[in-house]
């Protein structure tokens, strides 16, 4: 069953067509990837999915319901969480507070509860804390929970973003270039983590990546786009041998530069 | 870790320093409130800062001059007067602070009151403390209702001014008039009273307008007024904006009567408006320029402060003199006695004329006069 279905998606900015008639779907419980060279429109696709851009045409169906052009927070509440390509942490806040932001949409205490510090409110706070700590534990940085986010290493900051996304209790997790800026060891850990999220937490994953090696290792279904259009789809092997993909990544072999 | 620790300690120190600074400031306040004991302390409440500072300082000078003269003449009941100024900045909040400051300093009486808005909330404070208060300039009719019995207004009230104004308009044969105020308590009060009185007389107020303080361009308003063709235009607010309005009215070709209220009684109006001001009428409380009795005061003031006295100098001066007179008559600095003596005033004649009070503690006889601008000077309109 497809958890996410994108049909005929189109997006243009100031006359520039960024995404053209894009179709793809993500099966429930799978790890899927969206790849393509720089500037191919991958992040724009993510921004359409999560509501930050309003697509000009097409439909996005998530968990059986249309979410096209819905506000981002509503989409998150429906169960789609994302990370950002350039880290978007709340830099001056602690790691735990960062992760707690994810729980916001799953909790309800308001101003009155906060002022009176009612029993329900205190219980909820405790629950939030406990769950967020478990998220931090899951990504392996529980020890850092009281540090200010901006003081963490780059790799750990990425993990905070992950934990934060997990705290929204998503059905589908969108990862925007999770391997960017990571070294070899960190990439290996990343692959592991992605698999654990799917296997242990039952969360479907769609990632955008540049690093083909990583993508090939984790994904079950790969969609390749270039110039906002789908150019190939399939498993790692299919995609790797697709001449159009090779061309997009390495440049055309046969062309001679004068 | 050590670095963190040091930073924290530094923070700690800063915070402690800051707390001490606040403590110091509060302590400073205490010192401010305590003033050295004097023989007879009289409070002056006027705006010495803010937009009305010029007039306020002028009044302060006049009161101080009166006090100096009294002291030179042997003082009051053998005591020397020491003045203490509370700045109301023409702002209600600052006014209450100023009044509390004076009351806390245990003044025997207060003279002053320029802006009606700022004076209004202080009446309660002086009333609670039972401090005799001679209001020299502020004259909004609202002051009458808020008066707790201890305050006396020696400036004629809005009612008196309106009577003077209406009399002039009638005499000049006006049927349709335009009234313009500036959106503050004083000028709106005057404008409303004029409007009500004029319509009561069965005549027409064709325009009742407001000018926002600080705006310079009144051309739109001028066009509107001109289109209503009034026989007279009455500006009830202050001179600075009034001058601009007069200039622009004349520039746009309005040729009928223009009159301004006592807030506009200033040579500055003539200076700014230039020849446009020729023939403009002004209703005025007594000012030194044409008061025969004020000659000495005028000379003294100029000598002492090296400047010309402004519109309210004479009344402020009278206010101080009246207060001294009342204390002399009361024979003591007992507040009730002074208040009683003030109320019984009949024989006091200041440079602005004789003073006695109605049962509402306002001046019994209007001292409003009509001035006219001639050759760049205010003259008595005969």
């Amino acid at each position: 069953m497809a958890l996410l279905k994108v049909e005929n998606l189109g997006l243009s900015f100031a006359g520039l067509q960024v995404i053209k008639e894009l179709n793809f779907s993500v099966e429930k419980g799978s790890i899927a990837s969206l790849i393509g060279p720089n500037g191919a429109g991958k992040t724009s696709v993510f921004n359409c999915l999560t509501g930050f851009y309003k697509p000009n045409s097409g439909q996005i169906i998530f968990d059986g319901k249309g979410i096209t052009r819905k506000r981002p927070y509503k989409i998150t509440r429906r169960g789609m969480a994302r990370t950002f390509q350039n880290l978007r942490l709340f830099k001056k806040m602690t790691v735990l507070e960062n992760v707690m932001s994810g729980m916001h949409c799953r909790t309800s205490a308001g101003a009155i509860g906060a002022i009176l510090r009612t029993g329900a409110q205190r219980r909820e706070e405790a629950e939030i804390k406990e769950f967020c700590e478990s998220c931090l534990d899951f990504v392996g940085i529980l020890d850092e929970k009281d540090r200010t986010a901006s003081n963490l290493s780059y790799g750990h900051q990425r993990r905070v973003e992950w934990a934060r996304a997990l705290a929204t209790r998503p059905k589908l997790l969108l990862l925007d270039e999770p391997a960017a800026g990571l070294n070899f060891d960190e990439k290996q850990q990343l692959i592991e983590l992605i698999k654990r999220i799917r296997d242990e937490l039952n969360i479907t994953i769609l990632l955008i990546e540049h690093d083909m090696g990583l993508v090939m290792k984790v994904s079950e279904m790969i969609t390749v786009i270039d110039y906002g259009q789908k150019i190939a789809q399939g498993n790692a092997e299919d995609v790797q041998n697709d001449p159009r993909v090779i061309e997009a990544y390495l440049g055309r072999e046969e062309d001679e530069v004068a | 870790m050590i670095e963190n620790h040091l930073i924290k300690k530094e923070n700690q120190m800063r915070k402690t320093l800051m707390l001490s600074a606040i403590g110091g400031a509060v302590a400073g306040l205490f010192l401010c409130g305590q003033v050295m004991a004097a023989d007879l302390k009289i409070g002056i409440m006027v705006p010495t800062t803010g937009s009305e500072a010029t007039s306020g300082k002028d009044m302060e000078n006049a009161i101080k001059l009166a006090a100096m003269e009294i002291n030179d003449g042997g003082g009051v009941l053998g005591m020397q007067i020491e003045t203490m100024t509370g700045d109301d900045a023409c702002d209600p909040q600052q006014g209450t602070a100023a009044a509390s400051k004076l009351v806390s300093a245990d003044v025997a009486a207060v003279v002053g009151g320029y802006c009606s808005g700022a004076t209004l909330p202080t009446l309660k404070i002086y009333g609670d403390a039972n401090v005799p208060f001679v209001i020299a300039a502020a004259n909004s009719t609202k002051l009458i209702d808020a008066n707790m019995g201890n305050a006396y207004q020696i400036n004629s009230t809005g009612f008196d001014q309106v009577a003077t104004a209406v009399e002039l308009f009638e005499k000049q044969g006006a049927q349709k008039i335009a009234v313009i105020h500036q959106g503050d308590g004083y000028s709106e009060d005057l404008a409303k009273l004029t409007r009500d009185k004029w319509t009561e007389m069965g005549k027409e107020v064709v325009a009742y307008e407001v000018v926002n303080k600080g705006e310079q361009d009144h051309s739109a308003l001028v066009t509107r007024i001109k289109s209503k063709a009034p026989d007279a235009v009455f500006w009830t607010a202050y001179y600075a904006d009034g001058a601009l309005l007069i200039k622009q009215l004349r520039q746009a070709g309005y040729r009928n009567l223009i009159a301004v209220g006592d807030g506009s009684n200033s040579p500055k109006l003539l200076e700014i408006a230039g020849k446009a001001a020729e023939g403009v009428y002004c209703f005025s409380n007594p000012t030194v320029d044409y008061l025969p009795a004020a000659k000495d005061f005028h000379a003294n003031y100029k000598k002492t402060f090296n400047q010309e006295p402004d519109a309210y100098a004479a009344l402020a001066y009278d206010g101080m003199k009246l207060m001294a007179d009342a204390i002399n008559r009361a024979g003591s600095t007992d507040k009730d006695a002074i208040i009683k003596a003030l109320g019984e005033t009949t024989s006091f004649t200041g440079i602005a004329g004789p003073v006695s009070f109605t049962d509402k503690n306002t001046l019994a006889r209007s001292n409003f006069v009509t001035l006219i601008a001639k050759d760049g000077k205010w003259m008595l309109n005969e």
Binding site: T43 | G214, Q216, A220, L221, R224, Y239, Q251, K268, K275
Partner: protein
């Protein structure tokens, strides 16, 4: 006066008032466009311009008289002096704040505004000063619409200055660099543009335009005061936002529009002088709600 005449006269009034607003709004918009700062002190620089013009005129008038020549000379002097003051303020107060939180720099601008107005207040004892010039009331009567020669000269001067600015910004290298900095500072550095120098130039021009408006207002209305910059600063700010802050033609348009709104607002039944400010602020708010970038403002595409 017939309704038609009244409306025509109000149109003229609105355009005259609007050209003052536009002149001051230009400085707001230029500074905002280039460093994204709402320079609250701009209205006060208008006021300082009037005061320096006053000083210059009182010094110059014995030499060259206080008619048009004298006014023109003191206007130029005042524009240069205030322009330099603007650059000084930018260097001392704004330059170090460019990396600070946005709110802090706004507060800094408020502080500068208070320093300027209260400084002049302390200096002049809060007095209104009267310009000695009297430019007369002669004018042209076009039907029932009356416009004085002075008004015509002032509007002409404002138009001239605005045209000059437009040509400067579009025809000279420095003007082009100014616009380019507003778009992308890094790219400008890579073109060999000394960004800080151009920013200083922008401040110079923006504030000297305000100063020119200040001295024109001083001679036209006849009096100056330490507080005179507040209301016009507020209005010019509004005008700049209506036109689309950051856009130079927008500021001109916004200024004229606000002038017209106010003068017609005065005339419209149930609005009148009492409600005209509510009317223009109300329109401002509505405009922003439905077109948040102002009339000529550009929408920016944000990148994730």
């Amino acid at each position: 006066m017939s309704i038609q005449d009244i409306l025509l006269q109000q149109l003229a009034n609105g355009l005259i008032l609007g050209s003052f607003y536009a002149l001051v709004a230009l400085g707001y918009t230029m500074v905002y466009g280039i460093i994204k700062l709402l320079n609250f002190a701009h209205g006060d620089l208008y006021m300082i311009g009037a005061f320096i013009g006053f000083l210059a005129l009182s010094v110059l008038s014995p030499l060259i008289g206080d008619s048009w020549v004298g006014i023109l000379c003191s206007m130029v002097l005042s524009m240069i002096a205030v322009g330099l003051l603007g650059v000084l303020i930018q260097r001392i107060a704004y330059q170090p704040m460019l990396t600070a939180p946005r709110l802090s720099i706004l507060i800094t601008a408020l502080a500068v505004s208070m320093i300027l107005s209260n400084g002049v207040m302390a200096f002049t004892d809060g007095e209104y000063l009267a310009f000695s010039t009297d430019l007369g009331y002669e004018g042209l009567e076009l039907g029932n619409v009356f416009i004085t020669y002075t008004q015509m000269v002032l509007v002409g001067a404002a138009a001239l200055l605005m045209t000059g600015l437009y040509l400067f910004v579009h025809r000279t290298m420095y003007g082009k660099a100014m616009r380019a900095i507003a778009i992308d500072q890094d790219a400008c550095r890579l073109m060999g543009i000394h960004v800080n120098r151009i920013i200083a130039l922008t401040f110079f021009i923006g504030t000297s335009l305000a100063a020119s408006a200040g001295i024109m207002a001083g001679t036209y209305y006849g009096s100056i005061h330490f507080f005179m910059g507040f209301v016009i600063g507020l209005k010019a700010f509004t005008a700049a936002v209506i036109g689309g802050i950051g856009s130079i033609p927008g500021a001109m348009l916004g200024g004229l529009l606000l002038g017209l709104l106010e003068s017609f607002g005065t005339q419209i039944p149930f609005i009148g002088t009492e409600w005209k400010d509510v009317f223009s602020f109300g329109i401002l708010i509505l405009l922003l709600v439905f077109k948040p970038t102002g009339i000529l403002g550009r929408t920016e595409i944000e990148r994730m």
